[in-house]
């Protein structure tokens, strides 16, 4: 496809290979956890969800929010953020801005209530700088851990985001260099792995998966890198250059239309009527509601919606909070629709893949699996070419340990979460269990006499871990299958069945183990 000199090709191969070797295992971790995070909603409802007849933001919530507003410090009524929990519950976060002594930066300080959207019963109440307390705003420690691992490798902010941003750049470099290196992309598009488990077979496997997933690899790497660098580098730089370091001025210019200040007390218009009107204008589910300056004449209500059928961009409708009148659709960025705003708006749905409900999530999950395969097959190809050298043989075993150990550690995190739910803090024990699972996977990997015997061991462990999870969930007081069927809660049942099928598949499938043994022998 490309016409490069031998020297250029060698340089590109070196860039492609060495960037993959140095960052490949971390990249695999980010991609694998990202694949799980695509199903974050399902994981959340499976692990922590209760029975619900409708999405809690689809039922009347006006009376709940007004009642809750009387129970919080009046200074926390500057801003109210509302979103749905995993069951019939909603979170209502009443807050204002204050300097967080932990970071020295402005942060949201307030009171968060977890309410039953139907009865108004308060399940939980927390106060302070809420974003420092994940248990206050996320019902599932398991989902939170997997998402944190994907977003910032469970490292402190902003370092984790910078690392994942760099990984995104490395992935883009691998995609572009791979495209330029591969001279016969279209000609090889249907060439399956050649038999015989030769070096060329390993190359076929990597090239085939990489070729088919090329456009999405670039899109996911670009959007992921953008999302990582936006808050750590992009916006701070923009604030410094264009707004003299004033973050609030930048935020107002980019995301909040100007409002003439009017502190005159005025009751909030009927929130349910606002939400009904917003639904009529944007058919996608309501995902988030923000009420700015509650109880004042200059109150504004933002209503976020999932994209409508066939759409990709999220929709935000803006209302006058006191009058309840529709003020217009909020552009993604700035005061008027723009190409830049649309591109910015595309970053989130194209990375998360939940713009078309379960259909897009399944496809994005499958693409995630394909990219895991590309990463691992690339690492295997590199080590295969250098087989016999002690350092690369050791690295090949490390690749196997990480490849199989990561899913095992993720399952261990789920075990730790379910075991700790009844009696301990899942936000502490979920990450600890992941570490324990990873340590066990490493010990198994090191203790195995050769690489050929690794795979059957990992498969056995993975199979048992998968099969045990639904049983453990039920034992920990999770929703029964009868309730799930009776109340039409498909998430719980689907995840349980998939885990059972995966467990059976892992325990039964031993065929490829022999092939790995052959590779090790070679």
């Amino acid at each position: 496809m490309s016409r490069l000199s031998q020297a250029q090709l060698r340089r590109l191969t070196a860039i492609h290979g060495w960037s993959g070797i140095t960052l490949g295992l971390l990249l695999y971790t980010v991609i694998a956890t990202g694949t799980a995070a695509v199903f974050g909603g399902e994981i959340g409802r499976w692990s922590a969800g209760g029975i619900r007849a409708a999405d809690p933001l689809e039922v009347p919530i006006d009376a709940r929010i007004r009642a809750a507003a009387t129970q919080v410090d009046p200074s926390h009524l500057d801003d109210i953020a509302i979103w749905a929990g995993e069951g019939r519950d909603i979170y209502a976060f009443f807050h204002t801005q204050a300097e967080n002594p932990g970071t020295g930066a402005p942060d949201d300080l307030g009171t968060i209530l977890r309410l039953d959207a139907t009865s108004g019963e308060v399940f939980e109440r927390n106060e302070g700088f809420i974003w420092d307390q994940p248990a206050a705003w996320d019902g599932s420690a398991l989902r939170r851990f997997l998402v944190d691992l994907h977003v910032q490798l469970y490292m402190p902010t902003p370092w984790g985001l910078i690392v994942t941003g760099i990984l995104g750049l490395a992935m883009m470099a691998a995609v572009i260099s791979g495209l330029l290196m591969h001279r016969h992309l279209l000609r090889d598009l249907f060439v399956a792995e050649r038999p015989g488990w030769r070096l060329v077979s390993a190359r076929d496997r990597h090239v085939l998966a990489a070729s088919w997933s090329l456009p999405f690899a670039f899109v996911l790497a670009f959007t992921g890198s953008f999302l990582s660098f936006a808050s750590t580098v992009g916006f701070p730089l923009l604030a410094s250059i264009a707004f003299g370091g004033d973050d609030e001025a930048m935020s107002a210019a980019l995301f909040e239309p100007p409002v003439a200040e009017d502190a005159t007390p005025a009751p909030l218009a009927d929130l349910d009527a606002i939400l009904a009107d917003s639904r009529a204008r944007a058919p996608g589910h309501v995902t988030f509601v923000e009420i700015a300056r509650f109880g004042r004449a200059d109150a504004r209500v933002h209503v976020w919606h999932d994209p409508a059928a066939g759409g990709v961009l999220y929709v935000t409708n803006l209302y006058d909070g006191a009058a309840g009148t529709f003020l217009g659709r909020q552009p993604q960025v700035g005061a008027a629709p723009s190409v830049g705003g649309t591109l910015y708006g595309l970053m989130y749905p194209l990375h998360f893949g939940h713009f078309a409900g379960i259909a897009s999530r399944i496809v994005w999950g499958a693409l995630g699996v394909a990219l895991c395969f590309v990463t691992l097959s690339g690492l295997h190809l590199w080590t295969r070419r250098r087989a016999g050298a002690a350092v690369w043989d050791g690295f090949a075993r490390s690749v196997d340990i990480v490849a199989w150990g990561l899913p095992l550690a993720m399952l261990a995190a789920a075990w730790g979460f379910l075991l700790s739910v009844p009696a301990a803090d899942p936000f502490v024990w979920t990450p600890r269990s992941f570490v324990a699972g990873a340590a066990a996977a490493i010990i198994v990997g090191i203790a195995a006499p050769d690489r050929g015997s690794l795979l059957p061991r990992y498969r056995r462990l993975l199979g048992m871990a998968c099969l045990g999870l639904p049983i453990l969930r039920l034992a920990a007081g999770g929703m029964s299958w009868a309730d799930a069927i009776l109340h039409r809660q498909p998430d719980v049942l689907t995840v349980d069945i998939l885990l059972l099928l995966a467990g059976i598949w892992f325990l039964r499938r031993r065929r490829r183990a022999g092939r790995l043994a052959l590779e090790a022998a070679e």
Binding site: W212, G353, A359
Partner: protein, 101 residues
């Protein structure tokens, strides 16, 4: 949106199955006789045209879902070795291979 995307994906899958089963290099690598007819242009058109229909009928969201699905299915079809392919891809491939040999 979903029925249109599913139908378009099915048509693209069939066309990709044809392209895979009649691909000259793939057949050469696996020591299979060259197919008499391939009609690669028409097959590629049949693969990609449903995407245009999806874009018009189901919008950008449908187009991205179709594109992602075709990428994954294309990989799965191409990964399956000739004569060992199973499932829908295998059925399509076996049928087309027999037709074209």
């Amino acid at each position: 949106m979903l029925p249109v995307v599913l139908a378009a994906t099915a048509i693209s899958t069939a066309a990709l199955g044809h392209l895979a089963s009649t691909d000259p290099k793939r057949r050469r690598v696996f020591h299979l006789p060259a197919p008499r007819r391939r009609h690669a242009g028409a097959a590629w058109a049949a693969t990609l045209a449903p995407g245009a229909i999806v874009a018009v009928v189901s919008g950008a969201g449908g187009l991205f879902v179709w594109l992602g699905a075709v990428s994954v299915i294309g990989w799965a079809l191409a990964s399956a070795r000739p004569r060992r392919a199973t499932g829908l891809g295998g059925m399509v491939e076996r049928f087309l291979t027999q037709t074209h040999e």
